[in-house]
Structures are given as structure tokens and as C-alpha cells.
């Protein structure tokens, strides 16, 4: 049986993902290499150890951030 597709937002841009995608799967797909990052879903920070079990819901707003030069 096919999984349904739905929209989410990553860093303000629309993405289409499949139902039941986990954060781990999303991150793999985004191919972030060795970049350091942290992540919040709907303004809630999700720790790395919970990525595996975290299933992304439709319309989620995901922020993936890192550190840049700042004063």
C-alpha cells in the first residue's frame, strides 16, 4: 500500500514528504554531510537521540540551524 504524500516546511520552504517519514530519514535525504546542526519541529527542539522515533506530521514547520559568524 502506498504512503500518502504531504507538505512540510523546512527553513521556510515547502517540501513534500511521505507519510510516516522519521526525522532520521528526512535528514538522510537532505544530505547534510558532516555539517553541525540542530533542529526544531513546530518550535520544539528535538534531540538527536529522538530523531529515529520522531514521525513528521503534515504541515510541520521544521527549522534546521547552525552557527554562523556573529558578534
Amino acid at each position: 500500500m502506498n504512503r500518502v504524500n504531504f507538505k512540510i516546511y523546512i527553513n521556510g520552504k515547502e517540501f513534500i514528504i511521505k507519510e510516516n517519514t522519521t526525522l532520521t530519514q528526512l535528514i538522510e535525504k537532505l544530505d547534510l554531510g558532516k555539517k553541525s546542526f540542530a533542529l526544531a519541529v513546530n518550535s520544539e527542539v528535538i534531540k538527536k537521540e529522538n530523531f529515529e522515533s520522531f514521525i513528521i506530521l503534515p504541515h510541520s514547520k521544521i527549522e534546521i540551524i547552525s552557527a554562523v559568524g556573529g558578534g
Binding site: 523546512i10 558532516k34 540551524i65 547552525s66 552557527a67 556573529g70 558578534g71
Partner: protein
């Protein structure tokens, strides 16, 4: 006995904090961090560029050098964004220290005292060590100390303006009344600015643009290192008083006759 700076139990040999904003290249940043001998480095938190394939990132670079990283909340437009930024940076950098910037004014980037106070209270309740960037308002500084901030960071003049010290009298009062470290931030343009702040008793200074954007950042990092040391030593060495007339440095007796 050393003269280290202690903030919330953490010890720093260097009283010069360095910002990473507007660095010209990672090489240049590396150079000026080294020459400055700073142990406390600020960063901003921004969305990752998902389309960028480069691996080299600032954070790994800083972690490798075993520097203390102080994330700021620059760019946040309200308290919710400030709190999310801090929680993300805690997860990212594994530190509960944050430099709180609560700014509404896009032209002078002057911090909002009410938003700063509210955000600081919430962050402290969530377990953060808060180092707030503030205008040089002694009463605000006292309020922030009372709710448990780790330092206050009054500005010398607007961020990146290179205007030097515009509020010296107010900073003096903040230093006089503060029981937590006072880190003078923003506007310092030359080593003498940093030195002067240390001479009047500031515990540390934070410098970014003046080093990162100097023609020779590496050298300027060293210059600020020396200036901060000069000022600190002077503060501990008891400067001469200011008097209204001259005081001869050569003796006035035993003058010869021609």
C-alpha cells in the same frame, strides 16, 4: 594567585571576548582568534543552507580549537524567537550560555530594555546562563543582576559603528554598582578603547568588527590582546590622580645659574 576572570564559575585567562561576525575567511578568523588569545568566541544562529555542499563549518572549526562558544540571539524579533534560538543553540553547541540580544531598532541596533528583561527572566527559568547585551543603563543592569543574569554587557556605542566610547560615565556607574562581571560590548574601534574600559574596571570586553574588518585582522587581534592586558594591569596598579595644574616631574630645587 592569578587574575583570571570568573563568570558563573567558569574561569577565563583572557579578558578579551571575540566575535566571529564579518570575518573575511576562515583562515583570517583562525589567525585573529589565535593572535587575540581569546577563549570566548561568539557566534550567531541561522538557518542552515540546505543547498550548500561544503562541509567545512564554523562550529566544527571552533570546537576543534576547544574554545568556549557563546551563541547570540541577534536577529530575533520577539521573545519566542529568542527562546527557540537559545534552545536550539543549546542543542547545537551543548552550552547553556547565551548572549541575549533583544533588538527592535534596525538602524542603531540598540537593545530593548523591556524585551531584554522579559526574555532574561524566561531564559533563566529554563536554566540558561544569560549574558545580556544592554544599553548603558545602570538601573537596568541592576535589575538584570537581581533576576540572576551572569554578566551585563553594556554597549560603548552602536554595534559595528566604530564610534568608540560614547557612554563612559554610565558604564562607570554600572561597574561601580555591579556584583556580576561587566563585559563592555559594541562600538570599540581601537585598542585604546578596550584599554580604557579595562582601566575603569570593566571585567572584560567583547570585540568583533574592529578586529574582523581591520585591514590586517591578525595584527589587530594582537593589538587588542595587548590593549586589554594594558588596561587590566593599569586598573590593578593604581593610576595617578587627575589634578588641575601641572606637577613638575623634574625637581624645582638646586637649579643652576648661568
Amino acid at each position: 594567585m592569578n587574575d583570571n576572570l570568573i563568570i558563573d564559575g567558569k574561569e577565563f585567562r583572557s579578558r578579551l571576548f571575540i566575535g566571529t561576525g564579518k570575518h573575511k575567511s576562515l583562515k583570517d578568523l583562525d589567525d585573529y582568534i589565535s593572535s587575540s588569545e581569546s577563549e570566548m568566541i561568539t557566534v550567531a544562529i541561522r538557518r542552515l543552507d540546505l543547498d550548500d555542499n561544503h562541509d567545512n563549518d564554523l562550529l566544527s572549526f571552533l570546537i576543534e580549537k576547544k574554545l568556549n562558544i557563546l551563541p547570540n540571539t541577534a536577529g530575533c524579533k520577539n521573545i519566542d524567537e529568542i527562546i527557540l534560538t537559545c534552545e536550539l543553540s543549546r542543542e547545537l553547541i551543548n552550552t547553556n550560555w547565551v548572549k541575549l540580544e533583544a533588538i527592535q531598532d534596525p538602524k542603531y541596533l540598540l537593545p530593548d530594555p523591556i524585551m531584554t528583561m522579559n526574555a532574561a527572566e524566561k531564559l533563566i527559568n529554563k536554566g540558561f546562563k544569560v549574558l545580556p547585551y544592554i544599553n548603558s543603563d545602570p538601573a537596568l543592569a541592576k535589575n538584570l543582576e537581581e533576576i540572576g543574569c551572569s554578566t551585563v554587557m553594556p554597549l560603548a556605542s552602536p554595534i559595528g559603528s566604530g564610534n568608540g566610547i560614547k557612554n563612559e560615565e554610565s558604564i562607570k556607574i554600572i561597574i561601580e554598582q555591579s556584583s556580576i562581571p561587566v563585559v563592555v560590548d559594541a562600538g570599540l574601534a581601537v585598542p585604546s578603547d578596550a584599554s580604557k574600559m579595562m582601566e575603569i574596571g570593566a571585567d572584560a570586553v567583547l570585540v568583533n568588527t574592529a578586529i574582523a574588518q581591520a585591514r590586517n585582522s591578525k595584527q589587530m587581534g594582537e593589538a587588542f590582546k595587548l590593549g586589554v592586558k594594558a588596561g587590566r594591569i593599569s586598573y590593578k596598579s593604581g593610576r595617578i590622580p587627575n589634578i588641575e595644574i601641572a606637577s613638575p616631574s623634574s625637581p624645582e630645587e638646586n637649579l643652576l645659574d648661568a
